[in-house]
């Protein structure tokens, strides 16, 4: 194909999808972005941002959201690394069987997935009933509508993402590397931290990015498990927009959410271990 022909082909292939996203993805986002800087008189203003950012409730919610992400992500790493390591060393058939189980929380209806936690964490749920049966408590513990409940729900939702990225990172490390490290006298734990972790580091960072940004933007889990008592950024935005009809605030929160996501997405990828 000549250069001109190639250009025509490329254009033809990319045009429909590109136009679609420009109209029904980019334009609306830009529209909201512009709207967030527009005052009542139509001029450019930071008024909306100032009033939202000054609001103590917003700040509390914003930092709570970050905090939840900061708790869920390391927990996910701690549990996923050993699990991914075991899964990766299984035979092809067993590995595929396990992976199809691990991804279930990602594939199941979010309402179903989260509703299960109500039954477990609720006033008459599995945990409270068991503790009472063991006579460890007299009054049911309040677990629902706490940050803890949100952490548990998000951990179940996003751990599969971490396991998936770690398994595919571990897949790319040849078995011989680990055997070589062991034969050279590295202890098993030392081998893990000095050989396996550095070699799967890109996957780890990818997983951390996905889980952390996921936690910050998740809606259903905090909506059901946190309710209106423990708001996060997304449930606050929904409340402002659909309950309080405060579109100005919702717009600003939307922009703050995108900005936070993008900053995290781009800065986390810059992390590199020193000796690599």
């Amino acid at each position: 194909m000549s250069q001109i022909n190639i250009r025509r082909t490329l254009l033809l292939l990319l045009f429909p999808g590109g136009v679609f996203l420009c109209f029904f993805f980019l334009a609306p986002l830009l529209f909201v972005l512009v709207e967030s800087f527009t005052g009542l008189d139509g001029g450019v203003t930071l008024q909306r941002y100032i009033s939202v950012l000054k609001d103590p409730q917003f700040r509390q919610v914003y930092f709570r959201t970050l905090k939840i992400g900061l708790i869920v992500t390391p927990l996910a790493v701690l549990i996923s690394y050993p699990s991914a390591y075991v899964i990766n060393n299984l035979s092809v058939g067993r590995k595929s069987a396990l992976m199809s189980l691990v991804i279930l929380p990602l594939m199941t209806s979010p309402v179903a997935r989260t509703f299960a936690w109500i039954i477990i964490l609720g006033r008459f749920g599995l945990i409270n009933q068991s503790l009472r049966a063991l006579r460890l408590i007299d009054e049911p513990l309040r677990i629902m509508y706490t940050e803890g409940a949100i952490v548990i729900g998000l951990l179940q939702l996003f751990m599969p993402l971490m396991v998936l990225t770690l398994v595919s990172a571990l897949e790319n490390i040849p078995d011989e590397v680990e055997e070589a490290a062991l034969s050279l006298g590295s202890g098993r734990v030392g081998c893990f931290f000095r050989v396996i972790v550095p070699l799967s580091f890109d996957g780890l960072i990818m997983g951390v990015t996905l889980v952390f940004t996921g936690c910050i933007t998740a809606y259903v889990t905090p909506a059901i498990l946190g309710g209106s008592r423990v708001l996060t950024l997304s449930t606050l935005m929904r409340q402002q927009a659909l309950v309080l009809m405060n579109w100005e605030a919702a717009t600003v929160i939307a922009v703050v959410m995108i900005a936070t996501t993008l900053v995290l997405y781009n800065s986390l990828r810059l992390i590199r271990p020193k000796n690599l």
Binding site: L29, L104, M107, S109, F115, A241, L262
Partner: protein
């Protein structure tokens, strides 16, 4: 370390944590009391009966199905040419194109739904179901592009060259040689995208309106008013269907590699 019992134990505990809740919800859907209690008391199928008797669940199920199928189909039609272009050609601005087609998966769904709502209200009065369809198509595009790209990358580009050298046009060689060989990837993309659409809440939340909701949104609404095992029963049905689809897709297509 390969056979360490401690590590295997962590894996098992993780699986219990990930999958146990599904078992809990299925068990409690058979309870006879209206109070959500675990372990449930008695045995009854009345909640299942109730699920099928609530008209809103039926209506919204069909809306979800319709929107899911249409949006997935559109996202495949738009996404396959993009995947092909990105895998087969080198061209200036390629990274921008790749970024554009992955960003609907990076930008929070809630923000996409909210923006579309503001945009639709401002630009024109688009019917709710059309708005849903457009919004869902936008968020499914990254999935179709990514999954189809992955299976195209595994396919020897020389095969296409062979077909062209034997007299096929580029389009015909795609249809006669490439498509039949990446059909597994296309089906995987279809399943993943459809499940994503069918389960979506953040985008739909702002795009649903009076009378027109998707099933997950309707479930949320129901939960605000009633707190009985009906949702557990409906959830159990959805869980069983999902498990069936995922297990079949894993056996036939190895779907977990595409997630």
């Amino acid at each position: 370390m390969k056979k360490s019992k401690a590590l295997v134990l962590i894996l098992i505990l993780m699986l219990v944590f990930l999958l146990g809740p599904f078992l809990v919800i299925i068990l409690s859907s058979f309870g006879s009391e209206a109070l959500m209690k675990f372990p449930p008391k008695g045995f009854s199928l009345k909640w299942y009966d109730k699920v099928f008797n609530i008209k809103m669940f039926r209506t919204t199920f069909w809306i979800s199905l319709k929107v899911g199928l249409l949006a997935t189909g559109t996202a495949l039609l738009l996404g396959i040419p993009v995947a092909y272009t990105v895998v087969r050609f080198r061209f200036p601005g390629k990274s921008v194109i790749e970024l554009l087609f992955s960003s609907p998966a990076i930008v929070p769904g809630l923000v996409i739904g909210f923006s579309l709502l503001r945009f639709f209200i401002y630009v024109s009065n688009i019917p709710i179901i059309v708005g849903l369809y457009l919004g869902h198509t936008a968020i499914l595009l990254p999935y179709t592009v990514r999954v189809v790209s992955a299976s195209l990358r595994n396919f020897d580009p020389a095969v296409e060259d062979a077909a062209i050298s034997l007299g096929s046009s580029r389009l015909f060689s795609f249809l006669s040689v490439i498509l039949p060989n990446i059909r597994g990837g296309v089906v995987a993309a279809f399943i993943l995208a459809f499940i994503t659409s069918f389960n979506n809440i953040p985008v739909s939340l702002f795009l649903t309106g009076p009378g027109v909701a998707t099933l997950p949104i309707q479930m949320l609404v129901y939960m605000e008013y009633y707190f009985d095992p009906t949702i557990a029963a409906l959830s159990s049905i959805l869980i069983v269907i999902t498990v069936f689809i995922v297990q079949t897709a894993e056996k036939l297509l190895g779907i977990s590699q595409y997630v």
